[in-house]
Amino acid sequence: MTTSGQAAIRARRRARFTEVVREIASHPSALIGAGLLLLIVVLALLAPVLMPMDRLDVTKITAHGNESPSGGHWLGTDPSGRDVLGLLLWGSRASLLVGFSATAIAMVIGTVFGMAAGHFTGLTRAVVLRIIDFFLVVPSLVLAIVLSTVLSRGLSTIVIAIGVTSWAQTARVVRAQTLTIETRPYIERSRALGAGDRHIIGKHVLPAVMPLVMANTTLTVGSAIILESTLAFLGLGDPTTFSWGSMLKTALDTGAATAGYWWFVLAPGVAIVIVVLCFTLVGRALEAVLNPTLRSR
């Protein structure tokens, strides 16, 4: 290939990239969402610097329990006197970690199963479809509850429980897209040229479903974070790490809600809503931009 040809391709990729960025930018809510998410991720990464762990050590702190918000503690303190803002910062690490890793698992399973169900025929398809259908209909919260009941406590259990129960929607979307792609005549042309399954999946199907998977990823991270907090709320979380869900669990257990310690109930919840909303906004914008069938909307 000539260098000028490659340059042209690179230029076009760049142009396409800027076009996508510009289209996303045309959804102001998505832009705000993306900016906020970036800020939250940076804060989560900087948590050890901003709020050294020993300042949250129950044995070393001097503040009283359940202090209302003040100059010293912007978001007040929890029942053991720990700074709620600090807990929120550290909690974001667990919540985001669970959200991202569980989503990664879900995306891999979902993409593989979705493409298999769309591409293959006969027995393979029937079996894969059955499995997808099963995970679609079995209530994921209940399944996740059962999984985290029977597995040993820990962050990895939560990740697995959420990952294993959140992939079916992705598989469904990927399958639908695979089916659409498979009816395109260029697949038939490729077959007529002698292509096998690997070539067709690798060169045609996978590149075509990736944008959808990307958009789905952002949407799934949001629901994974909600699911994590729900599991923690039900007492199935990892008791040794802070997460937004475990904070709410503590709030419930110590009666913060009924005692009027609203800051300890409000802060983690608002944090969850903001992060999930940001992921949802970005995901919807990505979907609208990357999925051509939604383009017309």
Partner: protein, 544 residues
Amino acid sequence: MTEPTLVWDDVRITYAGGNVAVDGVSLEVERGGTVGLAGESGCGKSTLAMSVLRLLPRSARIEGRIVLQGEEVAGMTWGRLRAVRWTEAAIVFQGAMHSLNPVRQVRHQVAEALALHSTKEFPDSAARLRRVDELLALVDLTPAKGRAYPHELSGGQRQRVMIAMALACDPELIIADEPTTALDVVVQAQVLDVLNGLVRDRELTLVMISHDLAVLAAVCDRIVVMQDGRIVEQGKAQQILAAPTHEHTKELAAAFPIIGDPSSRLVVGRDPGSLSDHSSLSVSTSSTGGVVLEVRDLTVDFRSRGQHVRAVDHVDLSCGAGEIVALVGQSGSGKTTLARTILGLQKPTSGQVLHEGKPLPHRRAALKAYRRQVQYVLQDPTASLNPKHTVYEAVAEGIRIHGLDDERERVIRALTRAELTPPERFFAAIPQELSGGQRQRVVIAGALALDPTYLVADEPVASLDASVRGEILALLLQLRRDLGLGALVITHDLGLAWNIADRVVVMHRGQIVENGPVEQVLLDPQHDYTKSLLAVVPSKLGLR
């Protein structure tokens, strides 16, 4: 002289983004007149028609005057406009597509127009439904058909429902937008007959839109040819068809060659003169090599809706090296299934496909080797190229699959043979940046890159604009002359067979009913089915 039914006065229609669809069109349609608007896709003919009832998307900006029955359309209030819609002008949409609501019985959809505009004559729903039955009878449909949902009707029946619906409120003007596109030739002839009869009997004013000059000539007295939003030629239908003056009209007319006309036999393209020195073009079949492809007693069954459908029924066929064979038939005749079976994309129920005397292998590796030899060119070049792959990648795809060396040289050679020169200029282009004709050349280049012994082309020009059709057919002839490459060309278009084929094979309901040299089959058809196909060729419709 009475006032004209419809007047476009210097109309200019711009879509969002500055895209000018109609650019200064002035046209009058007199009372009782029948006018055909011709042109290729994107020439603005549909936009112009839809502007009459203000049915364009809101982003469209209309300048100039549109006057319907003496009343300016732009000045109507919404209420007035709704009253005018369907009572003064009604539209026959392309009913074969999605113009009917899929979840309502068609009779209720026809009755809806009556309920809106003719409540005095037909006060209750029983009266309206009786009227619907009468309307359906006008288009030769039984009342039972009115109780059907759109998906239960054939394309031709749906189109008739659309016509009945347009007639419901006795409008002065009927606008028919591509009313027969996507219909088979036989059905097309029936629908045109119905439309023609109604227009004459009821002295309707008709504006009909089509890309097909012959279809327009079958119904309209006057034809207006549009290109890029402007009118380039207009005149009496017969004159436009027989003696076009504008270059664009000639291109449109050439897409429907007159069968039997020697000047269009084995000669296609914009300028027949340039090919005249290749008088040896018509290589006679006898002088070509042996049989490349052979089909023996082939049967293909499908399971559909729990029933067995026999798509291909004991077919025998052979194609010689360098021979161009046209496989002609209506949709549903099994011709595409036959082609896919020949390419090993569909398993035969019984019978054999032989390539150079050897039966088609079943094992993957051997099948792959076979697919190097026989190449496929599909109907819609836009859809048969991955929109994300560059021309280079598209042409090199086969080379990579088969792990051949000298990838770059092969791609250059293939593109050159497909007349995309200089090839380097096209390497980095993506399909979206190419014209329809160029895209089909890329598909052909992708096939040529593997040095095939034979081509199978399924409707290679059906989705292309008329002006491009000639180029691609000329390319097929050229490849045969230069490389001795034969082709099995699948088509519904007898004119195409007349243009390029050595032999015609007529397929009907999965069986081959006639098979012989082009001149013999097309000029002296023996089988009734071939005769009926020839009787409804659009170019003949226009001339009767």
